[in-house]
Each structure stands twice: as structure tokens, then as C-alpha cells.
């Protein structure tokens, strides 16, 4: 099979995504056509819709432990087999976004690297970031000290290496018009400390780089998709893990990469928990590196069974899709490399007993088939299209529908008789005032309700914290009663997390309800205004309220990976002396109060973060959407009044355009 055929086969899985874009393009075009002739009062909402379509870029994050093969897999996904640097040691140090065929590429730029600003850098080095703070709070000065010393070492080497350049770099960014290995290596990989010398530039800016954006225009790949590579979790350089975990909420679809050697360890389970706090159906598991197994086929079955069982035991959704494959195989198929690693080739042969793998072409074809990459493309595309893509389209269609409805109303208003016109005494200024009054009362009501919900949430979160502390201490006491003060002991923080997530979700649900109420009030009052003042009857039940966005998932709850790992900070408080034998009866009361303090210290920031960083922004978003909606309605009323006053003849042509748009958006 020729190279170009292989390439075609490689990107076949992305076809679903192309169909989706075609649909979005048609909608965009229809809205553009409509906007040429649209009445001025809908200009703003139309512009908003167009901006939304143009800015839409679904993103997919690839996450996993160090050396699971994430960068290799990403290279395989985009078919650029050596774009991202890879190594046998942990290598990726920066979250790297690959923008495929993007419309938003900054002019003349293919690579953009942003550096930490002074504030971020200082916070990082002062405390070791959140991880260091957490360890210190939990009384693990050892760990806190280690994180701090790692960060201080990093700061020293970075500042020494960069010298005066450091000051100019901080807070700035570097852009390049072309992509090449040398440039990329300077920013996004660790570098090898054993290799020093003048000519070694690998990783020279890595520590200071906050994000990397690479723009690729590749034929055959879908448009407008962003794939993100992340530093591996479970790195001994603990800070990087925090960067990855904090970034998870930016992507709705996550591919969790496992290494076939050790599929699903406790660390992977912890990572899955964090991601599933976002939304379970958006997670894909890819078991990578199957080419390193001696007998991939039979071992794949064993791994699958064991994964399913473990996932079920750990309480995960059994619909999480599990794929198997090898980024190495896919890259071999698409690269110019002539020789596959012998072990890997033997493994490939076991998967293709009927094929003659004598020629390198045959090996390439077989390795693409067994790489699982086409299936992964398809699974990613489906999730993008069916999940966030479908929601996005629905949202757009609702907005277009509202624009159409308002335009039609205004169009029809032209046919009002002179007799009725005479009865209208409302001036435009009065109208504006009345609409403004409506908005104010509605927003006051909303703000009051939102404040109340905030208080409710706070109370429920505090209660959850208390209940958890009580149950943890009960469990501690019964452990002592049954086993004495020996053995390790831990208490699953899942209960706390579920309770807090439950409280947050329920209050967010109520917030949505308040949003709906506000919409209804706006519509009711506009209806009343139109009926009373203009004598126009509007059927309010045909109006689509704008979609309120999905509220930010409470990832903060899961971000504290230490809560999830057995043998970690929380559980070790009981494990102070390895066999616990120094802990006598009198000690347990002290341990208890120390434990309660620890739980409170650890969960109090969660409560605050949940409220400040999740709930408050959710209120602000809903508020903005209601306000925008009300302003649109106000402009609609004004336009209606204006139209009724003027004498127009373009109505017919305009209504034909409306019909066209309606067809496109359905």
C-alpha cells in the first residue's frame, strides 16, 4: 500500500467530524446571508452567533502517567510522526496544544510559547504551588520541603541558565513562523541534566514556559480540532502533575493513556476519578504500547477483563470505552523508518498470522491496522460530535430561532392598520425606560435568589465536611477496636467528594431554575408591554430561551490527588510509626483531633474554591445570559415600535430570507 493510501486510511476515522463541520458551515453561511438584509435590531445577536461559530474549537486532552506514550500517541494521531519530542525518560514538561487546520492561527505564526508571568512564577517558587501548600498543611513537612526544594532548584537553574534574559522573558511570549524540532525542543521538553554543554538547547526555556500552541495545517486532518499533550502524572518532579491536573477542566473529551505493561494502577484510578468528575461519557481509555507485549492478542483480552473488573469495583461507569493499540506502530506505518524494533515486529506477526510480512510495505500496512489509531480517531470524533458538538449546535439553533421569531414579528407589524397606530401613545424613550425597568426588577429578583442559593451551598458543604469528619473518625475508632493500633488505615474520601459534588450539582440545578424564571419574567413583561401599549399579541410559548451553559464541573473536588492515593498523606497520619505500636490508647484521642483538624484544613479550601471558582462564575454567566436576552428583547420592542410607525415595502423580500435561514438552521 502506498504512503498516500496509508495516510488516507489513517485519517478515515475523522470523517464523522468533517460531516459535522459541513453542517456548521451551512449554518454559518445561512446566517451570513441573512445578516446582509437583517434589520438593524438583530445585528448584535447575529454577530454573536457568527462569532461563536467562528471561535468554536473542540479540544481533546491526552492524559496519563509518565511514559505511557502520550506524545508518541499524539504524533500518531496527527500523522506527523516526529513532531512532538519523545524520550525514554519523562520528557514533556508543558501542556502543548496542537491546533489542526485552525481558523484562528495568529498571522505569521506556527508556534506560540507563553511564559509564566512574575506573579505566577513567584507563587510557584514561594510555596511550591498548591501541592506544597497542601503537604505543609497536612503536616507532611518532608513532602512540602521536597516540593519546595524541587521548585527552588528549578528556579535557580532556570534563572542561572537564562541570566539577564530571564527578566525579559517573564510574562512575555515567543512566536515563530515555522515549526521545527529545534524550536519545539527548547520549550516543551525537560532536557537531560546529564548532557550539558554550550550546544545543548533542549529544554532551555521549559521550566518557564506555561503553555505551547502549535498550529498545523495538514490536508486530510479535520478542521478546527485542538489536541492537547500534557506532562505525565506521577512524575517525581511533582509540580508538573499539578499543572496537568489543573488543566483537565479545559477539555471536554479526555483520552486516558495507560501503558500495557501496567494497565490501571492506583494512580490511573485517581486520574480517572478526577476526569470523571467532569463527565464520564467523555472519557476514553487507550491502552498503549501493546507492541511491547509478547502476545498482544491474548494479553489484550486479559487486560480488558481485568480493566473492566477493576473499573466496576471502583464504581466507574461501565460504558467507558477501552481501546488498545500502539502509537509506535502507527508512527512506523507513516514514517520513513525501514526497520521495526525486533520484539515489536514479532508481536505484530502474532497478530497477522496469515499475512506475509516480508516487505516493509506489508509491515507498514499491518502495523497501521494493529495500531488502533483509526479506531481512536473515530472514537474521539464521535465523542466530539455527539457530546459537546451536538450541545453547541442545539444552542446555536435556539439563538437563530429567537432571531427569526423577532424578525418575523417586526415584519408582520408593518401590516398594522392606521387606526390602531393612532391609538399608540408610547414614545421610544418611554419604551426604553419601561424595558430598562423590567430588566432591573428581574435582575434584582435573580440576584436575591442567587445569594440565597450561595448561602445554601455553603451550609450544605460545611455539613458534608462535618459528616465526613465524623464518619472518618468513627471508622478510625472501629479500626482500633477490631485490629488494635496496628496496620495501616485509611478512609476513602469518595464519600466526602460525592456529598460535595451532590450539593454543588443540586444548587447549580436550582440556579438554572432561577435563570429560567428570569427568562420567563422578561418574556411575560415584554408580552404585557406589547399587548398593553402596542396592541400586539405575541405568543410567548414559542420563544426559545437561550441555552444556559453547563456549569463548570467541580474539578476542584478531585484535584487533590493525594486524597485518592492509598499510602499517601491522609492515610499515613495513622501510619506514623510503621507498625503503629507506639500508639497507645491515650494517643488515639490526640490522633483523632489531629485527624479532624487535618480534614478540616484540607476541605475548607475546597469549599471556598467551589464557591469562589465554580458557583460564583456560574451565577455571573447566567446573569450575563439573562441580561443579554433582556437587552435583545428590548431592542426588539424598539424595532417593533419603529417599524409600526414607518411605512415600509421591503417586507416580502425580507420574509423570504427569513424562510431560508429557518431551513438552514433546522
Amino acid at each position: 500500500m502506498s504512503k498516500s493510501l496509508l495516510k488516507q486510511k489513517h485519517s478515515k476515522g475523522f470523517e464523522v467530524l468533517d460531516e459535522y463541520w459541513a453542517r456548521l458551515d451551512a449554518l454559518e453561511e445561512a446566517v451570513e446571508v441573512f445578516s446582509d438584509s437583517a434589520l438593524s435590531f438583530v445585528e448584535e445577536p447575529i454577530e454573536r452567533v457568527l462569532e461563536k461559530i467562528r471561535a468554536y474549537e473542540p479540544s481533546v486532552s491526552v492524559i496519563g502517567q509518565v511514559k505511557a506514550g502520550k506524545s508518541t500517541l499524539l504524533n500518531a494521531l496527527i500523522g506527523e510522526t516526529s513532531l512532538l519530542p519523545t524520550d525514554v525518560n519523562p520528557w514533556t514538561s508543558v501542556i502543548t496544544a496542537l491546533h489542526l487546520n485552525s481558523r484562528h492561527r495568529p498571522p505569521g505564526t506556527r508556534a506560540l510559547f507563553r511564559f509564566f508571568d512574575q506573579h505566577e512564577w513567584d507563587r510557584l517558587v514561594a510555596t511550591g504551588g498548591r501541592l506544597g501548600e497542601m503537604a505543609a498543611r497536612a503536616g507532611y513537612e518532608g513532602e512540602a520541603e521536597e516540593v519546595r526544594s524541587q521548585v527552588i532548584r528549578m528556579r535557580e537553574t532556570t534563572e542561572a541558565r537564562l541570566g539577564e534574559e530571564f527578566e525579559t522573558l517573564i510574562g512575555s511570549s515567543h512566536a515563530y513562523p515555522d515549526l521545527n524540532d529545534d524550536i519545539i525542543n527548547r520549550y516543551i521538553c525537560y532536557g537531560d541534566p546529564s548532557e550539558v554543554g554550550e550546544d545543548v538547547t533542549e529544554g532551555v526555556y521549559a521550566d518557564l514556559t506555561k503553555t505551547a500552541d502549535l498550529y498545523l495545517d495538514v490536508e486530510g486532518l479535520p478542521r478546527g480540532l485542538c489536541l492537547r499533550d500534557t506532562p505525565g502524572v506521577n512524575d517525581t518532579f511533582m509540580m508538573r502533575e499539578q499543572i496537568t491536573l489543573n488543566a483537565i477542566s479545559d477539555s471536554r473529551v479526555c483520552v486516558v493513556v495507560l501503558s500495557a505493561h501496567q494497565a490501571l494502577s492506583t494512580v490511573d484510578v485517581a486520574v480517572l476519578r478526577i476526569i470523571c468528575a467532569v463527565e464520564a461519557r467523555e472519557v476514553l481509555i487507550f491502552v498503549n504500547r501493546i507492541d511491547e507485549l509478547a502476545d498482544p492478542k491474548s494479553e489484550e483480552e486479559k487486560i480488558r477483563t481485568s480493566l473492566r473488573r477493576t473499573l466496576a469495583r471502583q464504581g466507574f461507569d461501565d460504558e467507558i470505552e477501552i481501546l488498545f493499540g500502539s502509537g509506535y506502530w502507527a508512527n512506523f506505518a507513516l514514517s520513513d523508518s525501514e526497520a521495526m524494533a525486533p520484539r515489536s515486529r514479532e508481536a505484530l506477526a502474532t497478530l497477522h498470522p496469515d499475512k506475509d510480512l516480508a516487505t516493509v510495505e506489508a509491515v507498514r500496512e499491518a502495523s497501521l491496522d494493529s495500531s488502533g489509531i483509526v479506531q481512536l480517531h473515530l472514537a474521539i470524533a464521535r465523542r466530539v460530535v455527539e457530546g459537546q458538538g451536538a450541545a453547541f449546535l442545539k444552542d446555536l439553533e435556539a439563538e437563530v430561532e429567537t432571531i427569526i421569531e423577532m424578525s418575523e414579528m417586526v415584519d408582520n407589524a408593518v401590516e398594522v392598520s392606521d387606526e390602531r397606530l393612532a391609538g399608540i401613545s408610547l414614545t421610544k424613550a418611554d419604551m426604553v425606560q419601561k424595558v430598562a425597568d423590567t430588566l432591573q426588577t428581574v435582575m434584582e429578583g435573580f440576584d436575591e435568589a442567587a445569594d440565597e442559593l450561595r448561602a445554601q451551598l455553603f451550609e450544605r458543604l460545611e455539613r458534608a465536611q462535618e459528616t465526613f469528619a465524623d464518619s472518618a473518625i468513627d471508622a478510625l475508632q472501629s479500626h482500633v477496636a477490631v485490629f488494635g493500633e496496628t496496620g495501616s488505615w485509611d478512609h476513602d474520601p469518595m464519600g466526602l467528594r460525592m456529598a460535595m459534588k451532590g450539593a454543588y450539582s443540586s444548587v447549580c440545578g436550582k440556579l438554572r431554575g432561577e435563570g429560567e424564571t428570569a427568562f420567563e419574567k422578561v418574556v411575560d413583561q415584554v408580552e404585557a408591554l406589547l399587548a398593553e401599549e402596542l396592541g400586539v399579541v405575541r405568543k410567548g410559548d414559542t420563544i426559545d430561551f437561550p441555552e444556559q451553559p453547563q456549569h463548570k464541573p467541580p474539578t476542584v473536588l478531585a484535584r487533590t490527588i493525594s486524597l485518592d492515593l492509598g499510602g499517601s498523606w491522609w492515610s499515613r497520619i495513622w501510619d506514623v510509626a510503621p507498625t503503629g505500636k507506639f500508639l497507645r490508647a491515650r494517643r488515639s484521642r490526640r490522633i483523632e483531633s489531629k485527624y479532624r483538624e487535618l480534614i478540616e484544613a484540607e476541605t475548607a479550601p475546597l469549599i471556598h474554591e467551589l464557591i469562589d471558582q465554580c458557583f460564583d462564575p456560574a451565577v455571573a454567566t447566567t446573569r450575563e445570559i439573562v441580561t443579554t436576552f433582556a437587552l435583545d428583547q428590548g431592542r426588539f420592542c424598539e424595532a417593533l415600535l419603529e417599524r409600526m410607525m414607518e411605512d415600509s415595502s421591503q417586507a416580502e423580500e425580507h420574509s423570504a430570507r427569513i424562510k431560508e435561514l429557518r431551513r438552514a438552521s433546522a
Partner: protein, 353 residues
Amino acid sequence: MIRKRSSRSAPSATLPRKPRVLVAGEFSTGKTFLINELAGDDVLPSNVTATALPSVWLVHGEPALMKVDARGQGLEIESLAEVDADETHYCILSHPSPILEHFHIIDTPGNSDPNMSAESWQRMLGFADLVVWCTNATQAWRQSEKAVWNAMPARLKLDALLVVTHADLLTDPRDAEKVRRRVEREAAPFFEEIRMASLLDRADIDGLSKVLSRVTSEMGEGTGSRNELVESFVASHAPAPGKKRSGPVLPLIWPRRAKGSAAHAATQDSEGGAIVPLRTPAQDCGTTAGAKVGPARAAWENASRGIDKTDPKALLNAVEALIAALDAPQAQPSGPRVGGSAGTSQNRAGREE
């Protein structure tokens, strides 16, 4: 950790016991494979996914197997297939492999396995004299390993060996060198020795075997807790004197893994499966309520009164005070030895005398 001198504990302790090498690491790092290679025989079943077996304590002798439950009751059984990891604390297995003449090997279930509690392997730490930590070359030395290693009892960190397994998966020698350099850089402070090993390479295995034999022979009497059940098991399954096995070891076949068969277990029970009570390390080491207070314990209670026992520094001071008290003129020459949680050079010296 304060231990009674072994000569005072039990009459059976007149024979010096063999050193014990505990093999630990995350699951699927090739621990079991390594042990089989060291033993020169498929002594243990292994698997690519986590192995649902409890720890297995390998001793030298005629083939025999015993499972030990949570109460420390031992029961002789036919095969590891009868073992339920949830109910069995560990197994004792005797095998005629020559390497077991030098030291016992304790195989542990992998750490980081979400289906196995850490307790399942940590409970064996008290018995170990030496730890071999296995890490997979393809994902070598991660934070989860480092965290577990940091929590290890100090006495076990002294001579520990880090084995980077599956080195054969790094086909390019430069890659292997890079991994070796990084592991050395990051893990050197925690281990006495770090070795890369391809488990398929006889020379690597023999090299490891030599290191283990050397370290265990230089170790003197180990610091691990006594285990009378194991001692009596060893005594009753020792090869008959004069009938020392030579030539190739007979292959033993153990099932890969399966649920125990109830019928089988029942016959085994009625056919004289020995039930022997076991002293757990905790019982060995700790004070039990109402125990008679001897001079050493009294000295300890005196030395440790009112200190924060969760504070390693305070503990260390108390231990030193205890040693001083016991070394005082009236103290008997056979004062308690220290091999516990502190791990200072003094303790080490104490152990080597």
C-alpha cells in the same frame, strides 16, 4: 523497634535462621518472574495483569505449601490454586532450589494495584531483613514508588537494592543508558545498589543472585521479626540429611491462578493439615495489655514517658535513653538490640556487633 533477643524468646531459636529477602514493587514489574529466574524454576505463577496471590514466603526444603490466615493459623495445602487472597495473609512454600539454601525469598503482591490493599504486602515488612524493589525500565521510578519507599521502615532502607527490570525492552543501548542515568540521579540516595536487569538475560540474573548472596551473607543475623510458624515449617520439610539433591531441579507445576475448590480444601483439612498458631510481628514487638513488665520494658517505659511517640526525633532520643539505661553497669551483657525505626549509624553498628 525494640526486639527481645532471640535467645530469650523460644527454645527452637538455637539454630540461626536464614536471612529473608523481600521482593517488592508495583504490580507487573516482573517480581515473580525475577524470583522464578533466581530459583531456576517456575516456583510461582505470574501474569501480565495484577496477580491475585497473597505474599508467598519461599524456604528451602522438600516441596510443600502452607497457607496462613488472618489469625495466624497455618494450614498445609496442595496448591496455590486453593488460596483466596482475601482470606489468606500469606503462604509458605518450600522448594529445593539451591538459592533458597542461602536465604528465604518473600514474594509480595504488587503495590499500586487498585484491587489489593497495601496492607497485603506491608504486613510482610516486619519479617524482612532485606528488600529488593523492582521498577519497570519502561516507566522507571515514579513518584508513587518514591512515596512508598519513603514510608519504608528505616532499617530496611539501609541495604536495599533497586532492580530496574525489563531492561531488554529498551532496545537501544543509549536509551538504556539514559534511563540508568536518570534512575541513578533520582534514586541513588535511597538504595545501597541499583542494577539494570533484563529478566531474560542469564548473566543479569546470575549477577543479581551473587549480589543477594553476598549481601545476605554479610548481614549477620537479620533484623526481621521471628516467625515460629515458618521455622517449624522449615524444620518439618527439610531435605533428609545426606540426601542432598543434585542435578536439575524437578519441575513443579503450579496452576497460574484459580479460585480454591472447596471439596479439595476439605479433604486436605481432614488429612492432617497442620494448624499451627502464629505470632504476628505486632505481637512479637508490641506490649500486650497486662503483660508482665520485665527490666527492659520498665526501662523503656521510663525512657519514653510523656514523649510524643509520633515524633521521630523524640522517639530517637527515647531509644537512645533506653540504650544508655541498658548499657549502664548493672545492665546484663545481653541487652536488647536495636534495629528499628531510627536507622542511624549507631543502630547499624549495634546490629553488626
